[in-house]
């Protein structure tokens, strides 16, 4: 019997799993997909927000500001790309100048440090490519960018290293109450557990309703993005938000931690929870915003377009807490923006919540003496010093062979991410961890090579190597 079962290995599930792995507990982390971080976590704005957006007193405001402060340490421990580059909310007219004043005041109320209203000249001093019709901006020094799936993957890896059991390909189909807790049916297997934590993202309401009366409903909301080649990454230096309006938070222009340029997102409620298609209208809208904000932008350097689904709820705030009348079922639902930023603080809060009832639950919560906050360092060959590169190739020839020609990723790095805990088993899984195929050719050259390496390392047939989800096969057979 497990002490705690976490359903969903996105950013909140993995943060909670890793936080719980500090204790001597038997923990199960389930995900329906064949990789961690394969839902909302893999397609979002990748921003660590300062915390002036959410309404004062909301859970969003509280956990955003707390979570932001926790990012330096966790990203350092887990060797995850994170850059505190600051953020701007731009104002192009008087009404927007008023709005950024409101945001500034709200930020103060929420406890956001290091904010400043900038003059036109100051804004253009930071962002010379903005149109000079800009009138001012709200600057927040603590805004940042992170690799969201890298973080969730690192958290899962570290959690597993510290004793958490991760089961992928395990969609939860039923939960029933037992005398000691619950029986969870996932991937046709039965697991018994004392406590369930529901981190199921866009399916959180479905999971909740397997044992509880309906109290909330997830409204899937899609955001579309355009990602540009690295040659465009220097167009902005900070996270540049458009001014929020009744329409939403505003479109963002930002560099990614890997030096690409990201534009997005749109916001549209949709019917199907995993309908990640992009549309002409959506992509045109975000491009139009960029044209209105920047002096010049060319769209020939877009390398990919994608969309992500946010798990919105109608209360517009996070739902975090025990299900009504139960100490052994915790919902962590409605985690849309600023969910990524808030996740580390949410994890601590959830653990405290469980500790409150530890006697009732029969959980000792002893310390995990073997807990190691650091994971095995990841290898980024091209970022190493020349002397270290030479040493590494001497140790392992695979680091001498470039597989991805756009990003200069070596075979050694690809083999490493396949063989780690919570390692990659798919083409996109390798891409999310080591980045082959993330460049301008989008895997045209390296795709077949990466598939060969996956097949070799995991002892699979080439035809069984998939792009991403279970049914995303690439090859349909052999030639005549």
């Amino acid at each position: 019997m497990y002490d705690i079962t976490i359903i969903g290995a996105g950013i909140t599930g993995t943060f909670i799993a890793r936080e719980l792995s500090k204790y001597d507990l038997k923990i199960l982390l389930l995900d329906k997909e064949n990789d961690v971080s394969n839902g909302t976590t893999k397609a979002n704005s990748a921003i660590v927000h300062a915390g002036y957006d959410a309404v004062e007193g909301s859970l969003k405001a509280k956990f955003n500001v707390q979570g932001n402060k926790m990012y330096d340490e966790v990203c350092r421990d887990l060797d995850v790309p994170f850059k505190r580059i600051g953020s701007l909310v731009t104002a192009f007219n008087d009404e927007e100048l008023d709005t950024i004043q409101c945001l500034y005041q709200r930020g103060l109320a929420n406890g956001v440090p290091d904010m400043k209203i900038l003059s036109k000249e100051e804004v253009l001093g930071i962002e010379k490519n903005l149109k000079d019709t800009v009138k001012g901006a709200l600057y927040a020094k603590t805004g940042g960018i992170v690799g969201p799936w890298e973080l969730a993957i690192a958290l899962a890896e570290n959690a597993v290293e510290n004793g958490v059991e991760l089961k992928l390909n395990s969609p939860v189909t039923d939960i029933t109450k037992t005398s000691k807790g619950y029986r969870v049916v996932a991937g046709e297997k039965n697991y018994t557990t004392k406590l369930v934590i529901n981190c199921a993202g866009v399916y959180a309401d479905k999971i909740d309703q397997m044992v509880n009366e309906p109290t909330f409903e997830i409204i899937p909301n899609r955001g579309e993005y355009n990602l540009f080649d690295k040659s465009m990454g220097g167009l902005v230096n900070t996270v540049v938000f458009g001014c929020p309006s009744k329409m939403g938070k505003g479109t963002v222009i930002l560099p990614t931690v890997h030096g690409n340029l990201l534009l997005g997102p749109t916001a549209a409620d949709i019917d199907q929870r995993e309908d990640t298609r992009t549309t002409f209208e959506g992509l045109s809208a975000i491009n139009d915003h960029a044209k209105e904000t920047l002096k010049e932008i060319g769209f020939q350097d877009v390398i990919t377009s994608f969309s992500g689904i946010r798990a919105k709820v109608d209360t517009k705030d996070f739902i975090i807490g025990k299900a009504e009348g139960k100490v052994n079922f915790i919902n962590v639902a409605g985690i849309d923006s600023p969910g990524l930023t808030a996740a580390p603080a949410i994890a601590e809060y959830v653990v405290d919540l469980i500790k409150e009832s530890k006697e009732t639950l029969g959980l000792a919560f002893g310390e995990n003496k073997d807990f190691n906050p650091r994971r095995k360092p990841s290898i980024h060959f091209m970022d190493l010093k020349r002397s270290e590169q030479i040493k590494l190739i001497k140790k392992d020839e695979a680091f001498g062979r470039i597989i991805c020609r756009c990003e200069n990723i070596t075979e050694g790095e690809i083999v490493d991410v396949i063989n780690r805990k919570a390692g990659a088993t798919t083409l996109d899984g390798v891409k999310r961890r080591a980045r082959p195929g993330s460049g301008r050719c989008q895997g045209g050259f390296c795709g077949p090579r990466v598939m060969e390496i996956i097949a070799r390392e995991l002892d699979l047939d080439m035809k069984d190597v998939v792009k991403d989800g279970k049914g995303s096969y690439i090859l349909t057979g052999e030639t005549k």
Binding site: T278, G282, T304, E397, G471, I474
Partner: protein, 422 residues
């Protein structure tokens, strides 16, 4: 530090021809660096025939065409390194490369020839909406899987873009038992060779939908259906013209881009239209002693022209190393205008002009009964009639500078002129 007279980056048709020609013209120490596991470049996956009609006066397959050069290169004792990736080229011709066996390599060349070829445009570059399932791939990637690795990439296939690789793959996949439902082309004309339209589509009754583009891709894990629609003159899809195809694969053949990341890192000037280095009559880039040839300069239609152009680069690199290439500052620009999208070379130095000089170019649309007219200022130097020109086929024009009376060259232009009474 390794030292060579000439370092050739890329062992495809361009690099091979350049290296061989450099050796024939007196260069001794030549090194070819190839990132793939064998020489020959993309020719190795082009197992169809039609290569070599101009160079060898016979029809060869891609691998056969490559083999002739590889055999010659080896017989001449030209050095090459396989599975070797060039990471950087500096403007003083120092190259950083690496491979499994030797690790990091520093190589100094007296001259460098850039022959990196091109890559395919991807889905992102053309902004196709819809889902992102498996089964959407470039035609060249599919060609590699089918022809070199022995795997099929789909059973029911739609192709977007009528570039040559897409057309060739329409035939290839049909012969392998797949059902090719059609080819959708955004423009009112094909971007490929006419002979490929006939031999790869018409002969197999595969429909070509001109002025159509993809408006939706369905499928979560694997492609389940693709919808195309007719577009207006501004390339906007026209509502009500949608056609939906049940299929598991969408191949993209939507253009090629010269691969110039190394050129950029060296600070070489690129032409906005070709996306390749601007070159002079010697195929020399904006950096003295760094030459470029083949698809890295501009995308060619036939490998035969790549070979010819690369020989020129090889010959001139050898001359440069021997100190025999004139490096005068006097330059005359060559421009394509009025229907001619670009001309290669983009500039010429009168000092180095002797005898005949070939200019390569592409036109911007399909035209009948036109003339390609080369002018020096207002003075017509040569006019050549063409019954039919199209963007998919490269045009050439030869000027004989011995017979050109005017020695006072100012700037050269090449343009399309409609013929009277046509």
């Amino acid at each position: 530090m390794l030292n060579y007279e000439i370092v050739v980056i890329g062992g495809g048709p361009a690099g091979l021809a350049a290296a061989i020609e450099a050796k024939k013209n007196g260069a001794e120490e030549i090194l070819v660096l190839e990132r793939d596991m064998e020489l020959g470049g993309i020719l190795q996956q082009c197992i169809h025939n039609g290569f070599g009609l101009h160079v060898f006066k016979e029809e060869l397959t891609g691998p056969e065409y490559a083999e002739r050069f590889i055999t010659e290169l080896k017989a001449m004792g030209i050095e090459y390194k396989l599975d070797t990736m060039v990471l950087e080229v500096s403007k003083d011709k120092k190259i950083t490369a690496m491979n499994r066996e030797e690790g990091m390599l520093s190589i100094q060349g007296k001259a460098v020839i850039l022959a990196m070829g091109c890559r395919e445009r991807t889905r992102g570059a053309i902004r196709i909406p819809g889902g992102r399932p498996a089964g959407v791939m470039t035609a060249g990637t599919a060609q590699r899987f089918v022809n070199m690795e022995g795997y099929m990439t789909g059973k029911k296939v739609l192709i977007l873009g009528s570039g040559d690789i897409g057309l060739i793959m329409a035939r290839r996949l049909t012969l392998e038992g797949a059902e090719v439902l059609g080819v959708s082309e955004l423009m009112p004309f094909s971007g490929g060779l006419n002979r490929n339209i006939v031999q790869c589509l018409e002969d197999f009754d595969i429909p070509l939908y001109l002025q159509h583009t993809v408006v939706d891709i369905e499928g979560k894990d694997r492609v389940e259906a693709v919808t195309i629609a007719k577009v207006d003159e501004r390339f906007k899809p026209i509502p009500g013209t949608e056609k939906r195809f049940d299929c598991d694969t969408l191949l993209l053949s939507v253009g090629l881009i010269p691969e110039n990341e190394l050129s950029k890192s060296a600070g070489i000037e690129l032409d906005r239209i070709t996306a390749g280095p601007t070159v002079n009559e010697a195929m020399e880039t904006s950096i003295e002693g760094i030459f470029a040839c083949g698809n890295v300069v501009h995308v060619h239609d036939l490998v035969d022209w790549v070979t010819e152009e690369s020989k020129k680069a090889g010959r001139n690199a050898a001359k440069y190393v021997a100190g025999e290439l004139g490096g005068s500052e006097e330059k005359i620009s060559v421009q394509g205008i009025n229907g001619v999208r670009y001309v290669v070379p983009q500039e010429i130095r009168p000092e180095n002009l002797s005898g005949k000089m070939e200019f390569m170019m592409r036109v911007d649309g399909v035209y009948q009964n036109v003339a390609l007219v080369a002018k020096n200022g207002e003075e017509v130097l040569r006019s050549v009639k063409r019954r039919h020109v199209a963007p998919g086929e490269m045009e050439n024009l030869v000027l004989d500078f011995e017979s050109i009376e005017s020695k006072d060259l100012k700037n050269l232009t090449i343009e399309l002129v409609r013929q009277e009474g046509a």
